[in-house]
């Protein structure tokens, strides 16, 4: 670790390459964190030289030529021994915390992201970087989502993840967090792009999800660790979410939703945008429906999305569906399942619908049966309202 002596440039053995990588990472980190040197300057320097190590060896004249006098001065200042050793120490502290640093010119940086207009210069990350050559989908939506939004987010995320699609989202409240939780539960790979340093959990109520992502998924951010979340970071963060994905799926968005910023960026980047249709009277779905009206893809089922991604439907999904259809001999539960739909209903409404159908059932019996259905995860409960948790209709 401490051996930071300069390595030759024409090295080919694996060990030496690894060392070179390490050296390059440190140099990149120094360059990235030098005060007064912005994304444009870094890009110009790297384009001219190819690596941060090479930049560190450039002559002053050449630097002035490339980035001007003022920034050269800043760069020289950053190279002072004291500052440099301090930065190296910080870099090692990050490594000890399990945070990796990945500038765009190093191997492993997602190609798709590098191609977008205004790509991030570097990413900080925690966890295991997924294979971005595989299909990737962003599942995004409103923070204050309805039961329908939660449900569709979970169904699409779980379905896509179990078919091998990497799910990208922003770990926000509402749809983002729900989708990522579902993806992890389905055993899929999952990436969260944060609007703060990767060592900070924002929003704090997603702590459990954050810890899980650290172990089972991946956390990414272009902001150095320790950066507190700021409102202006989030739109910037959104371009990374869409930039990482082949497809952007909006499950629920109001007419004026922050999610639509991501959609604009996705369109700018040439990504496919899909939206989950909702009832036209639901204010939570107005944004989605408008997207569809304006030409976005309509996400009607997981299998359709997989088809559009040129992927096969996973075996696990099909099995799950079959389980769902299997009846277990409780006549009442089937009757209730017939009445329940995705739109949450209160107990009285359910009982009312059953009695309209001519069933003679007491409220107490409906209560018991609903609890059993919730335990079997066929139905779900949210704020005292019940809905069908079946993915039968859309997968």
């Amino acid at each position: 670790m401490n051996n930071l002596s300069a390595a030759g440039e024409n090295t080919f053995s694996v060990d030496e390459k690894l060392q070179w990588t390490q050296e390059e990472a440190v140099q990149s980190y120094l360059l990235y964190t030098t005060r007064g040197i912005g994304a444009v300057s870094i890009r110009r320097l790297i384009e001219a030289t190819g690596s941060a190590s090479a930049v560190s060896r450039l002559s002053q004249d050449r630097l002035t030529e490339l980035i001007g006098e003022k920034r050269t001065e800043a760069l020289q200042k950053g190279k002072e021994a004291k500052r440099q050793s301090c930065a190296v120490k910080r870099f090692h502290q990050l490594q000890e915390k399990g945070i990796f640093f990945l500038p765009y010119w190093m191997e492993g940086f997602p190609k798709r992201l590098a191609e977008i207009p205004d790509p991030p210069v570097a990413l900080f990350g925690m966890g295991r970087m997924p294979d971005f050559s595989q299909k990737t989908a962003a599942v995004i939506g409103a923070r204050e989502c309805s039961g329908y939004g939660r449900q569709t987010a979970a169904i699409f995320a779980a379905g896509l993840a179990s078919a091998g699609v990497t799910i990208v989202s922003g770990m926000a409240r509402g749809v983002d967090g729900i989708a990522q939780r579902a993806a992890l539960d389905a055993g899929g790979s999952c990436v969260a792009v944060l609007g703060c340093g990767v060592d900070i959990c924002y929003p704090p109520e997603n702590r459990i999800l954050y810890e899980r992502l650290k172990k089972e998924g991946c956390l990414l951010s272009e902001y150095p660790p320790g950066t507190q979340p700021q409102a202006r970071f989030f739109p910037e963060r959104n371009r990374i979410i869409s930039g990482l994905s082949d497809l952007v799926l909006v499950t629920e968005a109001r007419e004026k939703s922050g999610t639509l910023i991501t959609v604009d960026m996705a369109l700018e980047q040439g990504r496919d945008v899909y939206a989950v249709p909702g009832r036209i009277t639901d204010s939570c779905s107005v944004g989605c429906n408008r997207l569809i009206a304006n030409g976005a893809g309509m996400a009607v089922s997981v299998s359709q999305l997989l088809q559009d991604l040129n992927m096969k439907k996973s075996v696990r999904m099909i099995q799950k569906n079959r389980n769902f259809h299997a009846s277990d001999g409780r006549p009442l539960s089937n009757k209730i399942m017939e009445v329940l739909d995705c739109n949450p209903m209160s107990l009285d409404e359910i009982a009312g619908l059953l009695s309209q159908k001519g069933e003679q059932i007491t409220v107490q019996e409906v209560m018991e049966e609903l609890i059993l259905l919730c335990m079997e995860e066929k139905a779900g409960c949210h704020g005292g309202m019940y809905f069908s948790a079946g993915s039968a209709c859309i997968s």
Partner: protein, 532 residues
């Protein structure tokens, strides 16, 4: 000359028999009162002096010393006016001193020598009876309260002269005066227009909402605490106001206990025993002292006034958290321990808590078409109701608004679901529900005969194991459910308590799986209170 006369004082909810000692001796003319007295008693000197003069009684120009013993207890209230005045008359020989043995006197005097009503008559007379007093002289307005207390002859007087006259009479004369006093009281109370007592509402006026009605009935049957949550206008308050109508009537002992509390609080206006269960509904700005009981000798607070009845907290999430947490001890132990500068007091506070709250600041969650509260706003709103508080609420029920058409349907109570189970064909009005509650209470009484507790809602952890036995199938079911629904051990206890009551309501000896799942159902509304 010296004489003494019995009277009664209040200390918190308890009362004691005190002696007013009067001595008139030669010396510089003055009128002193001693015995750790509050200022309203010290002021009584002027009242008594003027009242005596207006009653044509000579106040001797001698040294008058009055001591109220036991001198160690701090005394407050106005009940000592009449005994002091009578004491001065006795000391002058206007009333035979031997007549004052085993007689208790209490009352406030006006300047024209009239006798005015006092607070806490009921406990004072009860204590007098216990101490072996034979007769009590009370203000006429308090006569009914005195009679309720027990085995003591009660005389109600309207003025000082009447009191002295009574004491001078022989046995027969006194008897006649007592009878006349009661007559006079009745005439007087007839003249007063009777204030229309607040009528309790009947469950039949509430359409639909069977789930909530069933929750209310269960809560009443087992004396469980109940939390109602739902959007504004859904009928939470209406439901809560109906609950007293399905609580079993009070027995004599309870009536006397509650009436004594209200008498001390000065809230027994009619002078009759309370037969209705109390329904106390403090506003959400209530101060901690008003709720728990305040003052150096604390007056009974809202929790004590709700003893054996319903304490209804409307808009529970609007209460201050510190105020709400006061309820934790009474909810656990059924009494409240108050440590004040005047001493330590234990007041009864065994109430049934009914709380109503909106699910979020705007009130419409989870209807996202109307509610735009953020998750953290909702959390902040509901977090005023602390976890330990929720732990003590066995039943929580979500109240959904009734559809408009249902409100205007013909017929007040339409039978909607017909099936042959114990509860299927009952009508959801208060009378029918009360019958069910009474039957369930009867079963509980039988089961808990000879033990400390008498209601399911008051079962402790050890007693749950003893009384809520489960069969193998039920046990497995509960285990499975607890795992699925992530119930803590304490949550399981609450489920069992409620399941016990549900089984009692259905007149079943054993708790079945259906009761457990229903009990779980009434826990789910609470899920909103957990952080996502």
């Amino acid at each position: 000359m010296y004489c003494h006369i019995n009277t009664g004082g209040l200390r918190g909810l308890e009362s004691y028999v005190a002696q007013v000692e009067v001595d008139i001796s030669r010396g510089l003319p003055c009128f002193d009162m001693v015995g750790l007295l509050a200022s309203e008693i010290k002021e009584a000197r002027e009242r008594i002096r003027v009242a005596l003069r207006n009653a044509q009684v000579n106040v001797p120009a001698e040294k008058i010393t009055v001591n109220i013993s036991p001198a160690g207890i701090h005394k407050a209230g106005t009940a000592f006016d009449l005994p002091v005045a009578l004491g001065i008359m006795t000391a002058q020989g206007m009333i035979p001193a031997q007549r004052l043995e085993n007689v208790l006197v209490a009352g406030e005097l006006g300047l024209n020598a009239c006798v005015k009503p006092i607070r806490g008559t009921l406990p004072i007379v009860m204590e007098a009876a216990r101490m072996g007093m034979k007769e009590c002289i009370l203000p006429l307005d308090n006569i009914k309260e005195g009679i309720l207390a027990g085995d003591v002859e009660i005389m109600g007087v309207e003025n000082l002269q009447e009191a002295s006259l009574y004491l001078c009479r022989d046995e027969d004369g006194r008897k006649e005066m007592r009878a006349r006093a009661i007559e006079r009281y009745e005439q007087k109370s007839e003249k007063k227009d009777k204030s229309v007592s607040e009528e309790t509402m009947d469950f039949s006026v509430i359409r639909g909402m069977q789930e909530a009605k069933y929750a209310a009935m269960t809560a009443a049957a087992g004396f469980h605490n109940l939390l109602l949550s739902g959007p504004p206008g859904a009928g939470k308050t209406m439901l809560a106001r109906c609950i007293p109508s399905i609580l079993p009537p009070l027995n004599k002992e309870e009536q006397r206990q509650i009436s004594a509390i209200y008498s001390v609080a000065g809230q027994l206006p009619s002078g009759e025993l309370l037969t209705q269960r109390p329904f106390v509904s403090p506003h959400h700005t209530v101060s901690p002292y008003a709720l728990a009981g305040g003052g150096s000798i604390p007056k009974p607070g809202m929790v004590t006034l709700a003893h054996k009845g319903v304490l209804f907290l409307d808009e529970m999430a609007e209460f201050k958290r510190s105020t709400l947490d006061i309820l934790r001890q009474p909810m656990e132990e059924g009494k409240i321990y108050l440590a004040k500068s005047g001493g330590n007091f234990v007041y009864p506070a065994d109430f049934m808590l009914v709380a109503a709250t909106n699910p979020c600041p705007c009130g419409y969650f989870p209807d996202r078409n109307r509610c735009r509260c953020t998750q953290s706003e909702i959390h902040r709103y509901l977090s005023r109701i602390s976890g330990p508080m929720l732990d003590r609420i066995d039943l929580s029920c979500v109240v959904r608004p009734v559809p408009f058409q249902k409100l205007w349907e013909e017929g007040a109570v339409r039978r909607e679901y017909v099936r042959e189970t114990a509860l299927a064909d009952m009508e959801w009005n208060s009378a029918a529900m009360l019958d069910k509650v009474m039957a369930a209470r009867e079963r509980q009484k039988f089961r808990y005969a000879g033990s400390r507790i008498c209601l399911n809602g008051r079962l402790g952890a050890g007693e749950i194991l003893r009384y809520c036995r489960l069969g193998l199938a039920q046990q497995q079911f509960l285990e499975k459910a607890a795992e699925k629904m992530k119930c803590s051990a304490r949550a399981c206890h609450r489920i069992l308590r409620v399941a016990r009551t549900l089984a009692d309501l259905e007149e079943k000896a054993e708790i079945g799986c259906q009761h457990i799942s229903q009990a779980i159902y009434y826990r789910l509304g609470e899920e909103a209170f957990a952080y996502e």
